[in-house]
Symmetry: C2
Subunit: 456 residues, 2 copies
């Protein structure tokens, strides 16, 4: 690194985007409608209004290209945004690659990940519509942490159903949420009908994201003052995350750069959507036809790379709408892998559709390879990636090495969606040397795909 | 907060200071010399060169007002600097105070605290002088983390003697340092003569910072390719931290503001020095006579508020120079309090002298009161303070409440030196409701002061 090399690009406050980008408006193909798991007919707004505020539903269906960020949300954004765009000079050097690697780092806010972008927006709209409490689920804890902080900021109560295995494994995530005033239940809990039923059958059940979603949705649907909030998957969540990519575009513009490849980890898809959609805008309009966008997922939960594109339940208890997406089946239980939050059986309908139409690509990597990449990145760049974000790091390293092989000066941009301070035990596992890449058999996947609902 | 209120001030890259500020040059009174614990005569440069590089020794003694930051260090600084200066609008509102509260946040770099400012500088100078490995101690873990990252950046080996009680209590700090390639020993260890002696007498000894320092100094003194690095106390460490206050001054200038009161937590004193010294420059030259600077310490280790100003040993094993400072006695063992790193028996000679001459003030608070303040701050501002930094938060809240009582619009600036992600267990203790403020009896303090060395 020399003194003339710009390692970190920030925007001025007045440059922070005032609108989110809605990719659905630009897509030549449109999303299929959702179905009600109760009636098996088309999902009605009335059903959804039991758990979401009207403004969120509007965004979920919107065909507007740009949607204004409410002043009160933007005012909260400016506490931690813009987030830095870094040029990874030291990683490039370690890889001896001709590729230029940039990363957008979303881990510097108090909750440690990009999730706060949508948490603030969702809590704001709920407050506007008179809601007093929000119920949600959390797996690895990033989403529950973000929603707790957002609720504390806007003065709403927060109830988090935390997957029991994670509740026990990650006590500090729990403490963090409690510090911000959230009420936390290990899921399955006795607090909901669906939780009690599951515990009756299997008192030792360690939970899953699908179960925790069912509990949170039931809690919201059965309490008038309470709504539900989801941290990924849905269109409005992807929408709110586009602030990441919109900023990154401006930041790269300042450098006279445009990426050849955009990379992000992909669980429910919101982080991938956040960085990639604003760039895909240019691919959809034909001005950047060769742009590649790669969603990286764990081999332990390979939704895009090995799932099917079909209608499926969003949760174990069949409380949330049935949507068309890439899925491994709602009963799919990922191996106890250190992939962090990337363990949802389905994927964002928007991301799924773009993948299905060949607009984007997907890659899956095993946890051992992913942590190896994370350690290399940490030593070079001085930031410890969250296990989720480490998948994007692995993806970027692979592409940088390919550029080296091909002797091409590619420009790579990836999203470092969060830090790994709460995930050091996973790094310990890696350093013990016993971590293995998870490989699923075709039979495992086939079996969990046998119970797809029939709605078409 | 309204849209016109600036909550976060950053500097442009070209505004990041290029020089550190050396307050000793401006002090009308000078530091007393150090003594050798071996000879009990004046400490000689020859002795110190066994463990420090020449450039560091020069800085330790320097009377220059400003010292240039080497290009290679500045290039590393710009990865995480400038650090944000925040206006705490939400905390002000929660306190209903007429005071304006600003805080400088040093927790956004990978190591989570201000310690990286000096770690990078020290490792750089050691590398320049041909050193291959650095040995150090760490208590709560902030310093060990920072030095590990700095050594990884410059390609030096790093050995950390970590106080055993902390080694066991904070496994994630250990993992963090290991990730960056550091070698870590629980101190007292069998790796050094002093460690072995202590373990012989007391095999269950849980260690102390004083013991860990002795081990690291011995390691450095007995290996030619190895030097020692200290994370606080010494003049050059205070010097490197002044980047904090120099930036803060520029940032406040942009707002047309100047603080009435500057506040920081104070253990060894480097964080306090970092934020306060550049402002004290204006008090020493008479242009800001009324400026108050307050060092906040825990009642469990009340060095300034209840110690004596005297020559004392810097470490348990009497390996490091004897210096004049406020001290509780080198054998003082603080109660198992959640004050984080603020557990050193002594204090920075520069901070001590300024306190002795009445230039600065000091306050001590109990851990329960400190955590209460931290929780209030976290909920208002959305950042979880490190236990150390929470002392500054408490100090700032007290002054803001006093301003309210007096109906005065004071401008308060404090340093939020780090985040508390690795310290959630301490917050858990607080929420359990059993945390008590530590109060030391006069007898406890008197006893530990009985073994001061006689050198004058």
């Amino acid at each position: 690194m020399s003194k003339d090399q710009k390692v970190k690009i920030l925007l001025e406050e007045k440059e922070i985007p005032r609108k989110w980008y809605n990719i659905h408006a630009d897509m030549p193909f449109k999303l299929d409608p959702s179905y009600s798991p109760q009636t098996m007919g088309l999902a009605t707004p009335q059903e959804l209004l039991k758990i979401f505020p009207e403004e969120i539903l509007k965004q979920e269906m919107s065909q507007e290209r740009f949607i204004e960020i409410p002043e009160e949300v933007w005012e909260r954004y400016k506490k931690f945004r813009s987030t830095p765009l870094y040029r990874a000079y030291d990683l490039e050097k370690a890889l001896d690659t001709p590729a230029k690697i940039y990363y957008k780092y979303e881990g510097q806010n108090a909750t440690g990940s990009h999730k706060l972008n949508t948490a603030l927006a969702q809590v704001y709209y709920n407050k506007q519509s008179g809601i007093k409490r929000i119920a949600t689920e959390t797996g690895a804890g990033q989403w529950g942490s973000a929603l707790s902080v957002a609720c504390a900021e806007f003065g709403l109560d927060c109830t988090v159903y935390m997957v029991k295995v994670s509740y026990n494994q990650k006590p500090y995530r729990r403490s963090f949420m409690r510090l911000f005033g959230a009420e936390i239940f290990a899921s399955p809990s006795t607090h909901t009908e669906v939780g009690r039923k599951i515990l009756e059958k299997d008192p030792d059940c360690t939970g899953s994201l699908g179960i925790a979603i069912s509990e949170a949705v039931e809690d919201a649907a059965t309490h008038d003052d309470t709504n539900y909030a989801l941290g990924s998957v849905l269109n409005h969540v992807c929408l709110h995350q586009t602030i990441i990519g919109l900023e990154a575009k401006l930041q790269m513009e300042k450098l006279g750069e445009y990426p050849d490849i955009v990379i992000a980890c992909c669980g429910g898809g919101s982080n991938f959507a956040g960085i990639a959609f604003p760039f895909l805008m240019d691919k959809l309009d034909g001005s950047k036809k060769d742009l590649r966008a790669i969603a990286v997922e764990p081999t332990a939960c390979p939704t895009l790379t090995r799932g099917v594109y079909a209608y499926d339940y969003a949760d174990t208890g069949h409380a949330a709408p049935i949507t068309k997406m890439y899925t491994l089946g709602a009963d799919f239980v990922p191996a106890p892998d250190h992939a962090g939050g990337l363990r949802y059986h389905g994927d964002s309908p928007l991301v799924s559709l773009l993948y299905n139409k060949g607009v984007i690509e997907a890659q899956a990597y095993g946890q051992k390879d992913v942590f190896e990449a994370a350690v290399m990145f940490a030593k070079a760049e001085g930031i410890v990636p969250a296990p989720e974000s480490a998948h994007a790091v692995k993806g970027a390293i692979e592409e940088a090495l390919r550029a080296k092989e091909e002797g091409k000066e590619k420009t790579i941009l990836f999203c470092l969606s969060g830090h790994g301070y709460f995930d050091m035990y996973a790094y310990d596992e890696y350093f013990k040397g016993s971590m293995q890449n998870t490989v699923l058999s075709d039979e495992q996947i086939k079996e969990s795909l046998m119970k797809l609902p029939k709605v078409e």
